[in-house]
Each structure stands twice: as C-alpha cells, then as structure tokens.
C-alpha cells in the first residue's frame, strides 16, 4: 500500500462528510476538523514519504478497444497544492465552528465542506483529465450547494444557480478539449500527454488552438476570468468561511492549477489569448472593487483580479510564477475573508437591528479598537495582497510582473493593466481598510474573538509573511518553492528587472497613500469626485457585464422560451391531445369489447360451471330417494350394456 497516504487525503473528507451528515450530527464540526487535521498530516507526510511522480492507474471503462482509466498522480505540484488546500480547509473548518454555531443546518454545512474537500483533492491528485473532469464537476456541484446553503433567503439560490450555469459554459470547453486530446492521442493521462508533446505533434493547428482554448475555457469558468467572472461576486451570498475556502483559496484556483498542469499542451497563440484575458480580468476586477460597498464583494472582485494575475502569468509563459502566486494568494486571501467573516460575525452577534446589513462597509468603522486581533491579521494580509516587500504577495507578484515584462508575445496593454492593477489593488484595499477599521464615528465595545477565530487568523496572517516562502524576502528567485518545483516541465524563471519591483512598490505605496488621504484626511475629494462621476456606475456595476448578459442571453433565452412555449402549446399539445382523444375512443371500444365479449365469455363459463355444479350437487344432495332413483338407473344401464348390447 505505497499509495495509502493518497487514499487518506482523498477519501478522509468524504468519510467525514458522511459521518457528520448521518452520524455525528451534534459534533459535525469537530468531526470535520478532526478529519481535516488527519488530511493535513497525511499531506505533510506524503510530501516527505511519497516518491515524486508516483501514483497508479486503474481501468475504469472498457468500451471495445477504448480504455478509459482513472488514477492518482503525485508530484511536488500536487504536494504543495494538497498542503495548501489542507491548511486552508482545516482553518476554515475551525473558523466555521464559531461562525456557524447558531445555524441549525450544521451537519449539512460540514458535510458539504467535506464533500467539497474530497472533490478538490480529487482535482489535485487526479492523474488524467477524465477523472479531473469528474471532480471538476463535483467541486462545481459542492460549490453550488454551499453558495445556496441559506436557500430559504432570496439571493443565495439565484446566485448558486448563476454560478453553476457560468461554470457549465467553461465545462463545455473543457469537455471539447478532452475530446480533441482523446481523438488524437488515445489517452487522457496528463503525464503521457505531456510526454507526447501535443504542441509539436502532427495535429492540425486549428485543432491545437481549439484544444488550448477549450482547456482555458474551463479555467475561465472555474477561475472567474473575463467574460465569465460575474458569478464570483454573486457567490458571496454563501457563508463567509465557504467564500474563504472555495471562492478565494481553492476552487477558483483550480482553474489556474489546471492551466499549470496542462501548460505544455498550450500553443503559443493560446498563451497570447490567455495573457490578454488575464490582463483584462485583473484590471476589471480591481476597477470594479472600487465602488462596492459590500465587504465580501470587494474581496471577491479582488480575488477576480488576483486570479487574473495568475492567468496572466500562465499566458506570459511562467506557470510556476502563477502557481506560487496561487499558493501565497490562497493564504492571504483566505485570511482576508476570514477577517471579514470575523467582522460580520461580530455584527451578527452584537447588532440585532432589523434591516441592518452586517456586510456593508458604510455601517462599519473604528473596528481597530473593537477587534484588535482581526485588525492585526487584516493588516498583514492586506499588505501582502498589496504586494509590499517582506510579505509573501510581494514575492509572487514580482515574479509575475517580471514575467510579463520579459514576455514579448503579449500586447503591451497587458503589462499596463498589470501595473495599473497593482496601484488599484493597493488603493481599494486601503479604502476598505481605513473605512472599516479607522473611521472613528462608529465604534463599539471591545469584542473578544473566540479562539476558533483567532487560530485561523493567526495562522493565515503569519503565512502571509515573506520569510515563510523565501529566505530573502526581497528576492523571489530565492524562494524554496522554486527549488522544489524543479521536476516540473514548464519551469522557467523570468529575467530579473531592477525597475520592476521599484515601480510596483511605488505604485502600491501610492495607492495606499491615495486612499489614506481620501478616506482619513478627506483630501483629494475634488479629483476623486471628478473621476467618480465618470466611472462610479461602471465600477459599481462591474462594466455592466450582468446587464449585457441580461440583454444578450437572458432576454434572448426568454424570447426563445416563449416561442418554444407557443409551439408547445399550440402545436405539440394539440397533437398530444388528439392522440389522447384517439386513445380514449380506442379505450372505450376496447372497454366495450372487454365488457361484452370477454366478460360475457367468462360469465358463460362460470354459469356453465355453476350449472354443472348445481346439477351434480343434486346427486350428492343427501336425498335418499334420489340415491335410490340413481341406483335403479344404474341397474337399468348395467342391464342395457350386458344384455342388449351383446
């Protein structure tokens, strides 16, 4: 059983889900925490014990000579990813115990979290694209369940439905990519495919591009890239720990993870498209985050923007940079989400005014004094997100920006978007930060966070510090992550440009200062209001993407649906009704036949039997004189036979 650790990682969350839903209802949270801890230990042990490039393959479907196999595969990429997912999942589980303590649906909640973790580990460990696709759909499904967790409210069911649909658009691309790959290479094993080198293989160029675009479409759906990113902000209607786990750290990163996995299969044209889409997403996400008032939506748009960075890095040809940014981003964004969860939880616990929105930052302020621990964690994570030196975000962001600069196949506006987003990221985070924590007008009593809130925040914020990832926090090239990823085929280190970190640090600092001046000092109001009047609606409505979709797809679909309804009503239904009437007439005929002919026959038979029975009953009727009559009759018969017949 050399793969026992992989089995534990994969199936422990599923077991936990089943246990917490069916057995340990009262202790569902503790069950999940215990199993998550087990998974984390298994993941760390696997890092040291499990040989690289190990795994196994099993036959799943044998259709003629077509063999579809499933299997698990373990390398450093998967190892780091499992550890990241395990850490975030464990902390989120701990946090959820406090956050959901008043909710009645706890068994369901923790079971869904377990199901999600199972599917996520499945994506990470799957050795071939078919199995990846299976778990891909499973994460989509569990995400759907968790977004719609409070299904009795108005918004969550619609949001979950939207997320599901948007993901489906991407999944179709994924499926098409899988079809093309299987058609040409007769295998879906990722390592075998990379060994076959699809980019240089004898495969039509159009199909190669279609294959790459298809796989990228999967990431567009799952990682909320332009133009499918609108589901992610709406997905914030789910519970906040869920947002931290699924919609910040793990599931949305699955798209990036897939891109990193299949990077050697992507044609250069596809990489250009990926880079452009990533740049647009990064910019749009950062821009849209400005005008939001919901704390979670700001973070959601920030996530979209950071995912755009990762995709940009993939497009630039540096998937390792994307992966490292994925890792660092998972920690500090999950930390930010958990901080927001702590804040929302605080308002839930203390403010019971009807109609009060605990997620609206206009209602917040002065929380520095109220939630000092959350404040500290938020500061660390925010600085990391802004990309300041000494923090983990700096390392990965520098790698990405260096990569962008050195990639000459991308249009220059992508680079501009990349740097602009650095400024904007710092600015909108600072806006959120100062509004929530410093505004003195609204303040309350000091509130002690629970231990199960503090532990995740502490862990995540300390994981946002640069020393964790690199001995020299100013130089991303020294990161130990780079050295362990040597076996990965798409490895590539961008040239180091001296002006890039200086420019990005400068932009980030100016963004922070800009927001500080505007929010805290009430300066620059003229400039801001001028810009605001032009762009506020654009930002607030996220470039009217939802409205465009409404016009383009929703109303079109509705018209189509109406036409289909008319067709159904007027044509199909009438045909069906006609058939129904014919059937009824036929049924009457058959019924008449049944009653008159068949039943009559049956009744005739019964009457005959009855008649015969009655006649024969008379013979045995107990009447002595009848007996005698029959006896005499018998004598007559015997005489007739013996005498007259001879």
């Amino acid at each position: 059983m050399e793969n026992i650790l992989l089995y534990i990682i994969l199936f422990a969350p599923l077991v936990s889900a089943a246990l917490s839903y069916f057995l340990t209802k009262k202790w569902a949270g503790e069950t999940l925490v215990g199993f998550s801890l087990l998974v984390l230990l298994a993941a760390i042990m696997a890092w040291f014990k499990q040989p690289v490039s190990s795994g196994f393959e099993l036959d799943w479907i044998l259709a003629g000579n077509q063999n579809f196999s499933i299997g698990l595969y373990y390398d450093q990429l998967a190892g780091i990813m499992t550890i990241v997912v395990a850490i975030v999942a464990l902390l989120v589980a701990i946090f959820s115990m406090e956050y959901m303590k008043h909710d009645g649906g706890q068994p369901r909640y923790f079971a869904m979290l377990g199901l999600f973790a199972f599917s996520m580990y499945g994506i990470v460990l799957a050795s071939n694209l078919l199995l990846t696709f299976v778990f891909w759909e499973l994460v989509g499904f569990s995400s759907y369940l968790l977004i719609g967790f409070w299904f009795e409210k108005d918004a969550p069911p619609i949001s979950s439905f939207k997320a599901f649909l948007m993901n489906k658009v991407g999944d179709i691309g994924f499926l098409l990519g899988i079809f093309i790959l299987y058609a040409f290479f007769k295998t879906l094993n990722i390592q075998e495919l990379i060994g076959l080198d699809p980019v240089n293989a004898a495969i039509p160029n159009g199909l190669l591009i279609a294959l790459g675009i298809g796989l990228f479409l999967a990431a567009v759906g799952k990682s909320a890239q332009f133009p499918l990113q609108t589901w992610l902000p709406d997905a914030m209607t789910g519970p906040t720990p869920v947002s931290a786990l699924i919609h910040a750290a793990t599931m949305v990163a699955a798209g990036v993870y897939l891109m990193v996995r299949v990077f050697p299969m992507l044609a250069p044209e596809v990489l250009t498209v990926i880079g452009i889409v990533g740049g647009i997403t990064a910019f749009m996400g950062a821009f849209a985050a400005f005008a939001q008032n919901d704390i979670k939506k700001i973070l959601a748009f920030s996530t979209v923007s950071q995912l755009g960075y990762m995709i940009m890095a993939v497009g630039a040809g540096f998937p390792v940079a994307a992966f490292i940014h994925l890792t660092t981003h998972a920690f500090f964004k999950a930390g930010l989400f958990l901080c927001s969860g702590s804040i929302i939880h605080y308002y839930h616990e203390t403010n019971h005014t009807a109609g009060f929105d605990p997620q609206d930052i206009r209602n917040m302020g002065g929380l520095k004094k109220v939630l000092p621990f959350t404040f500290m964690a938020f500061t660390l994570c925010m600085l990391s997100l802004a990309g300041l030196p000494l923090f983990s975000g700096f390392l990965s962001k520098e790698m990405i920006l260096n990569g962008l600069v050195s990639a000459d196949h991308l249009p220059s506006f992508v680079l501009v978007f990349g740097f602009a987003s650095v400024f904007m990221t710092a600015a909108y985070m600072a806006r959120l930060y100062f509004k929530v924590f410093f505004n003195q007008q609204v303040a309350g009593e000091k509130y002690a966070e629970a231990v199960s809130v503090k532990v995740p925040l502490l862990t995540l914020s300390s994981l946002s510090i640069g020393f964790v990832f690199s001995m020299n926090p100013l130089s991303p090239d020294d990161s130990w992550l780079l050295s362990v990823l040597t076996s990965y085929k798409g490895i590539g280190i961008a040239d180091h440009f001296v002006w890039v970190p200086i420019l990005s640090i400068g932009l980030a600092l100016s963004g922070l200062i800009f927001s500080y001046l505007y929010i805290e000092r009430k300066m620059l109001s003229g400039l801001v209001s001028g810009v605001k009047s032009l762009t506020y609606n654009l930002s607030n409505r996220n470039f009217y993407l939802d409205d465009i979709y409404d016009v383009a797809f929703v109303s079109g679909s509705k018209t189509l649906a109406k036409a289909a309804y008319w067709w159904d009503q007027k044509v199909v239904d009438r045909v069906v009704n006609l058939m129904g009437k014919t059937q009824v007439v036929l049924a009457y005929l058959i019924g008449w036949f049944d009653r008159r002919i068949v039943d009559g026959g049956v009744r005739l038979v019964t009457w005959l039997v009855n008649f015969a029975g009655n006649r024969t009953r008379q013979v045995q009727g107990g009447n002595l004189q009848n007996y005698l009559a029959w006896a005499v009759f018998g004598v007559l018969l015997i005489f007739y036979f013996f005498e007259l017949m001879t």
Binding site: Q625, A629, V632, F633, V635, L636, F639, E643
Partner: protein
Amino acid sequence: MEGIDLNIIAFYILAGFSVFSALGILFAKNVVHAVFLLVLVFLGIAGVFIISNAEFVGVTQIMIYIGGVLILMMFGIMLTHRIDGKRLESENRSVLIATLLGFGLLGILFYPIKAGFPLFDFGSNEETGFTVTEQIGIHLMTTELIALEVTAVLLLMALVGAAYLAGLNLKKKGVNDTD
C-alpha cells in the same frame, strides 16, 4: 286336474287383488287409506302363500304383518301426524322419473320370461311323510338352529333399540330447541 285349475284361479284372484291394492297404495293420497290398503296386499300375499304349499308362512304373514307391523304403522301415523280432523295427505314428487324407472325395471324383470324359465327339479317334498309345518319345526331346531338364535337376538336388540330410540328425550338436552 280340477284342483290345479282351482289353484290357478285362486292365484289369479289373490294376485290380482294384491296388485290392485298395491296400486291403490301408489295412488292413494291419504296415509291411513294407504296403510289399510297395505293390509289387503298382505292378505292377498298370505293367500298366495297358502295355496303355494306354504301354510305356515302364510299364517305367519298374517299374524306378524297384519297383527304386528301394520298396528305399528298405525301407531306411527298417529304419533307423527297431528290428528286434528285434517286429512293425512301424502304429497308426491318426481312422478315422471319414478314412472320411467319403474317401467324400465319392469321391462328388465320381464325380459327373461319370454325365453322360458327352466327349473332344476329337486324332487317332491311329499316323500318325507311330514307336513310342511312339521318340517319347518324340525328344520328350525336342527339345521337352522343358529340362524334362529341369531334372529332371536337380532329381534331382541331391534326391539330394545326401538324402545330406546322412541323413548329418548332429545329436547331436554338442547335448551334452545323449538318445541
């Protein structure tokens, strides 16, 4: 020759008398009439016995049947019918079937006669020197002694049983039986 003719004439008279009386029973409605007609039938049969060289049997027939059985039957009628001035009528059933069967049986019985009826001759019984009655007495005490004893026991049992049956009071056992 004269006696033989007389015997045959007497037989015809007695037999016809019996048959007509029997038919009377068949057609009689009244039970009491039927029983009296039965007396006539038995009388005729007894006469036939007597002219058939069986005087003892004929006398026994008269004594037992007419003196015993018929009295018994009269008692039976009186006990099983309410004597309230109404005529004791007996109803008929399935006359047609019975008639057909009867004539069929009669046909069977008459069928062999047309072929003649040869008899084995055992010899005359005049040679022993005893009268018929004496012979019967001798037989009863010698060859038929066991049969006589068994018959006596049977008769005793039958009479005891009849007395017991008639005296059995079933009503006392069943509480809810109607009177």
